[in-house]
Structure formats: C-alpha cells, structure tokens
Subunit: 317 residues, 2 copies
Amino acid sequence: MEITFLGTSSAVPSKYRNHAGIILKYFKDTMLFDCGEGTQRQLTYAKISPMKIDKIFLSHYHGDHILGLAGLIQSMGFRGRTEDLNIYGPKGLEKLINVVSNYGFFKIDFNINIHEIGEGIVIETDEYIIRSIIAEHNVDNIAYSIYEKKKPRFLREKAIELGVPVGPSFGKLHNGEEVEINGKIIKPEQVLGEPRIGKKITYSGDTRPCEKMVELACDSDVLIHEATYEDKDKDKAIEHCHSTSKEAAEIAKLANVKLLVLTHISSRYTTDLNIKNEAKEIFENTAVADDFMEIKIEKDKAKIRFRKLLSLNEEQA
Amino acid sequence: MEITFLGTSSAVPSKYRNHAGIILKYFKDTMLFDCGEGTQRQLTYAKISPMKIDKIFLSHYHGDHILGLAGLIQSMGFRGRTEDLNIYGPKGLEKLINVVSNYGFFKIDFNINIHEIGEGIVIETDEYIIRSIIAEHNVDNIAYSIYEKKKPRFLREKAIELGVPVGPSFGKLHNGEEVEINGKIIKPEQVLGEPRIGKKITYSGDTRPCEKMVELACDSDVLIHEATYEDKDKDKAIEHCHSTSKEAAEIAKLANVKLLVLTHISSRYTTDLNIKNEAKEIFENTAVADDFMEIKIEKDKAKIRFRKLLSLNEEQA
C-alpha cells in the first residue's frame, strides 16, 4: 500500500501545492483519488505513468478536484491506451464525462466505464474492499475507505479438538474450504475467528467534520483528511463547508486511526506550522501532506518520505 | 511590449515544459495567447495575476492549447472578477465556451464575450492592430500578428512649401487634423509620408510552414513559431501538420523578421540543441523558448531574459 500525493492545495494552487490528486498503489492496481488541474504533469514529476491508472475515484465536482480529468484522458489516448478506464464519483458523473469528452478535438480508443455511486461497497475484489459515504460538503462529496481483506485467525486448538489432523487440512479450512474428517464435514466457520480487516486508508474529500467520517475512518492506518483552514478561520470553514485542522484531528482521535495526514491546505497561509501544531494538540501522530510526499504502509507502520519539488527546497534553503 | 512564455511543450508536457501559453503585456493590456492545462499555476510562478488578463486569443482547439481555460475562468470567478473577459478563437469557440462553462460546479460574476474569428483585423485600437490568418494545421489554427500603430513621418519641407507656419499646426497635421492657413485647408495626407508600423510580433500557433505565415510575419520584431520536431523527424511534422525548426527558420528568413523564437517543442527530445542549431544554420538570430522566458522589445531591440524554474537549474547543475 503506497500513497503518493500529487497535489495538496485547496481551490487556488500555489507555487508549492498543486490541486488535489492522490495515487494509491495497492496490490496490482494503481488508483487515482481526485484529479485537479495539472495532474498529468504532476504524474511526470512523480515518475508514475498515467497509463497505469485503471481506476479514478472523484470525491466531488468542484474544479480543484476534477479539472485535470480532460487532460489525463486525452493524454492516455495520445499514448495509445486501449484498456478500459473506470471512473467512480457521485451523482452527475455521466454529465461530467460528457463535458470532458467534448473539451476540444481529440480521439481516444478506450472505453470509459462510468460508475455513479452513493453510499456502500464500491468495489470488492479478492484482496480488498472500497467503501463510500456521502460526507458533508456544499455539494455531494464522497469519502472513500479502502481496506485489505484479511483472513480470520485460524483457531488451531479448536481444529484439533474437532479431530482435524495437523497438515494440509488446516490450510484448506483457513482458505474457506470444507474438509471431511472420518466421514464428518468440518466447516471453515467452525475453526475461524472473528472477521478481520487488514491495512486501511480513508480519504475524506472536502467535508465538514461529521460522524459518518468517524465511522468510515474507524481504525484506519492512515486517515487523509482535508484541513483547509487554521482554527482562527473556523468561521470560513463553516461557511464553505470545510474543516479546520483541529476538527480533522478530532475525527482522527474519535476514529482511533494510526496516522492523520492533512491535505487541501488553503494557499492563504504562508506556512503550514499552525495547521500542523493545532492538530497535534489533539492528535499527536499528524503530518501535513506536501506535493510528492509518499507514504508506505508496511507491517502496521506507515513510513513517510518527503520528496518536495526541488524548486521548493532551493527557495527555502 | 513584453512577452512571457508560460508553457513551451507540445502535446505532452515534460518536467521542464508546460503546455502552451504566452502572455503579452502591451500598452495597458495583458493578453494571453493559448491556455494549456496548468496555465493558472504557471501564472503564479511568473508572478502575473490572472485578474489582469482581459483578452485571451486561442490558436486552435487541441487540448494542449485550451485545457487551462476552465481553471483560469473558475479561478477568476473565485477571486471575485467582475470585468468582462474577451476570448477570441476560430470557429467553434461558442461550443468550446459552453463546454468550459459546464465543467464542474462553479459560479462567475463576469461576462465572457465570445469572438469567433477568421482572417483579417481582429482588433484595432488607437495604439495597435491585431491581425489573423488561418494557417495550415489539421484543424483550423489561427496565427496572430500584433503591431503598433506608428504615425507616418511628418514631411516638414512639404508643409513649409504649402505655407504652414512652423508651430502648433505641425502637431495638428501630424495627429491627423486638418488646419486652415490663410483660408486654405491643408489636409494631413498632404504632409504625411507612407503608413508605418511600429513594433510587431507574430505567433504561429500550430502549423505547417506556409506562405500566409510569411506574409503575416513580414518584418516582425519577434516571430514566435512552433518547432515541434527536429529535421530528422520531418516525416512526423508532415504527418501531424507541424513544423521542424528548420522550416520555422525558413519562414523567419523569408519574412525578414528580427528574432525567431521557437516553441511547442516535442517532449521526445532530451535536449533542444538540435532544434536550435538546425534553425540557426538557416536563420542566425534564433532562440528556443523556455518556460518563464521573457522578451522585452525596447527601441527596436529584443532583450531576452531566461528565468527557468529553479528545479530545472538545480537538476542541470
């Protein structure tokens, strides 16, 4: 599970932050969450091929989350893509893709599968589940949670008690198959523990803090939550249906997540120190995302690697 | 007359080159020629406010020249613009603006005046003229020429011969007013020389080399011409209706321009040395545009200032 931030600004981009975009590499899939203007070029900087993206998840249809879609799709066509592209988003996706498909002269040779979604299971594969809720923004905004399916614990003592001999039958039962022992059928559920989930990340899109976010983010390894404003601008957060970093931290605490990563930072602030420190007062394990920051989740631990644009480092030096 | 390149790539952006966009500051106007994806952010880097742009001229409707329009317009709205925005472009502009106006949820409080144009005079003010031709691309592509109106020379000897006394009457006649001298009307055309033009720049958009470009660019101080390909890829230039740098240089030579600036460079090349040198063999005073390069035309001389992104410098160092 590897996360790369392509853009971390709110409505107005800055020299340091491009519009929203997050890449999630997960099993064999490369997924893109939101696609602000300039995403195709940010991918170049991040050395990720746009051709590898097979699923795009949009939180909502404000420009800073979707204006890169036209360029990304045209670029895929230009490079000769033939594989289907799956796009997920709230109500209105079909209209949006229709607009994008008419933006200038171009030709693509691949299908775009449009998935207008609400709340519930968005995708379930053998390996993972993606679940969505509608959060609290001034337009429909979908928050996504992605979590690994993990086999329940195998109750070894219970199996032995039921007469299952130590050996290949253990593996079969753990993989969900029945076995026959001396003419008696042993079912997996007899020897398996409670359902478990593996690594989990949650992305809020744009939202006011809300209970549904707490429930969706519950026990996440990483919660990526918007934090457009500092606490002193809470009135603006309320007016524009965004969150302050303090409010995001409250959600992280209530949801018992391991790491909170703040993004969608307003370009009005010349430093993100207040954003970070105000959150840390409430939830210690907080980071503020930068463009090109990477997070690798390995064995229950999230490792963060900052990889700012060279220009930024030079200017700060 | 001050030119700033915001983007200099062709269809695919690179780390070093964003999609097409050129700012021209001219008298009190700030004009934008083409508006590729990411233009609003490039403006931030160039320290030019998008609010100052009052006229946008589009060459044609391929994505790399227009996908930044939606973001730029939404950004103007977000910042509270109320002044009209004038957009010029070939046939199809109304449809394009309709698409852009439906790309996501947003609200703007200013009018967009749509000017679908063909060949001829696009704008004539007291100070300058903008003229257009349709060049040779695989879709309608407009090339623009912008030139200063310059008063014709005042024929002092002729005026004296006609009995005009040295004094304020000279100024009136030079400014196009008639004067009466001893009951006799003297008309300006009797004492003015041939029509003259002042500083002139020409921008090709995307095109094969063509005679109309030579005619449009004639005697320009600066010709900004596309040079997508090196000479060895001339077959691709022909196939995709673009120019090689050699071909652009031939146009510059035939049009007797002072400075040729090459742009729209394919990202397939890791260096622009061949692009430059192949052109220089034919037309010595050639430069290859970089993002954020500025050209100031002062007293018949064009001064170039390179202002590459710090990241580029650092990586090259």
